[in-house]
Amino acid sequence: MTQHLPVLQVAIPLLASAVCAIVRNARIAWLIALATTWTAFVIALNLLFRVQSEGIISYALGGWAAPYGIEYRVDLLNAFILVIVTAIGSVVIPFALKSVECEVDKSKGSLFYTAYILCFTGLLGIAVTGDVFNVFVFLEISSLSAYALIAMGQDRKALTASFQYLIMGAVGATFIVIGIGLMYVMTGTLNMADLAARIPEVRANRTIPVAFGFLTVGISLKLALFPLHLWLPNAYTYAPSAVTAFIASTATKVAVYVLLRFFFTIFGIAFSFDIMQLHIVLLPLALIAIFSMSLVAIFQQNVKRMMAYSSLAQIGYMILGISMVSVTGLTAGIIHLFNHAMMKGALFMALGCVMYRIGSVDISAMRGLGKRMPWTMAAFVGAGLSLIGVPLTVGFISKWYLILGALEQSWWPVVVVVLITSLMAVVYIWRVVEVAYFKDYPDYDCKPVCEAPLGLLVPTWVLVATSFYFGIDASFTTKIAEAAARTLLGIGL
């Protein structure tokens, strides 16, 4: 049965989502979601270890051989992405039980888990497949269910946020499918490996650069690269806490994976970076994203929105690493996918705990919370340290590689930007710390606030602990990220 694991990774969640939609009972749907996500996590780990020991796993869907049928192809990079998505998916589900009861309309309970598993299926499908049209189909599955999830937020603004995301996401998906269509016209194939082999023959034709352009814009919209990020802050702010924690740590990461896959594996470095000069576009955008979004984050009053802007800056770090087109730079980008998923998941879940108890995440409402909810705020600070990049946290590992990569290229100004924006992260995290620990709890509020329930705290702390563990011993993640970077660049180990 183990040879079928690549397809079971997607098929089990797909089946589970249909069952969830039938049962119409939130508690049973939650149990199904719990079982599904953890099964998927075990499968993803198994795939990762098998890829590490045996190399690339290829699976022919329906028994049709690779260039003609749909191929599922797992290499180190997408096995790593699968592990990130399933790990976050399975940690958020235990958290979701109480958080969703509190934040989502009761009648929509089972639908929430249906949409959640569908989104999960879509993200896993994008990562596992070796077929570009399949990427588009799963992208639509994950996006459509994400719009539904975001619209379930308590605030009515969630509806407009979701609609804004729907429009931008649909434009992005259209651009991606146009790009895929143009590539198909020129090569007659949709298989990634086959495309990679055939594109060099036809790349003199103008159609391929046009496809490249459409894909660049479409994928940048999906991963919310500055200046195509406008959908993200509202979507993250008004979505239910569990959804924000899940989507913020997975959806943009998978989009970054799609970017790596298209520009490194399919178009190839020679075309993407020597002929099309993609890094000249990506580098300034990444730097502007890092700097301006960190600046905007400092002035936010809603902490969830603050973290959303911080996510945009972090996406900038990933793209910065990728635009170096070197082993160290790519390693930094890939490892930051994992590291940022852990820390931002923990931060949004800590904010979910705050939301559960006081019903708001405005910075003014968080006065004195350090004493009232010590564990929640400690988790926030722990993950916040990671966001800043303090040594012994995962954030430090990412920034270390990023700065090493920049130094290799003698990009001193880039090093300065990375260091300055880390200080800016200190500022915005400190604003929350100051209010939570050094301001008194407002006494006009007569109902006492106590610590969040364990059901919310334990998953939050699991991610905080992971972000410290992989900050202290990063050998596992760096080894995978570096090997994946070498494969993408076509350099042997």
Partner: protein, 141 residues
């Protein structure tokens, strides 16, 4: 529109043919143009015509919303279920060749079953969308 006799009789005559045509599109899908999606839309169109003429309340008596939902999920289960069955019979996921005594018949049955799943889901979802739009009242009421 219940008082318009021509429309009522016309619709009653047309609806069975629309539904049979949907099944034709479904079963002929592997020889000519067609398939589960188109068949599901046509089948739902016949039903929506009934809803337009006789009212959404009547249509809901024939096919309640919960049943439409059930169809929506059941189709996915049929589709993915075929995949699981082929796995259990020793083939790859959705490798229909193992479904019958010889690969040719297996492929034939497999694609029909999968398209039946598509038909079911598309039909269920179309009807659900129709109900939710048609059942919406103005904001004031």
């Amino acid at each position: 529109m219940e008082d318009k006799i021509i429309i009522r009789v016309g619709a009653k005559t047309l609806i069975p043919f629309i539904m049979v045509f949907a099944l034709y599109v479904q079963f002929h899908g592997d020889y000519g143009p067609g398939g589960g999606f188109q068949a599901g839309v046509i089948f739902a169109a016949g039903f929506i015509l009934y809803g337009l003429i006789f009212g959404v309340d009547m249509a809901k008596k024939v096919l309640p919303l919960s049943v439409a939902w059930l169809f929506g999920s059941a189709g996915v289960l049929i589709f993915a279920g075929v995949g699981v069955v082929t796995l259990l019979l020793g083939g790859d996921f959705l490798d229909y060749s193992v479904l019958a005594h010889d690969p040719e018949h297996g492929q034939h049955w497999g694609i029909l079953l999968v398209e039946l799943g598509v038909l079911t889901t598309v039909f269920g979802v179309m009807i659900s969308i129709f109900y939710s739009f048609a059942g919406r009242r103005g904001l004031g009421t």
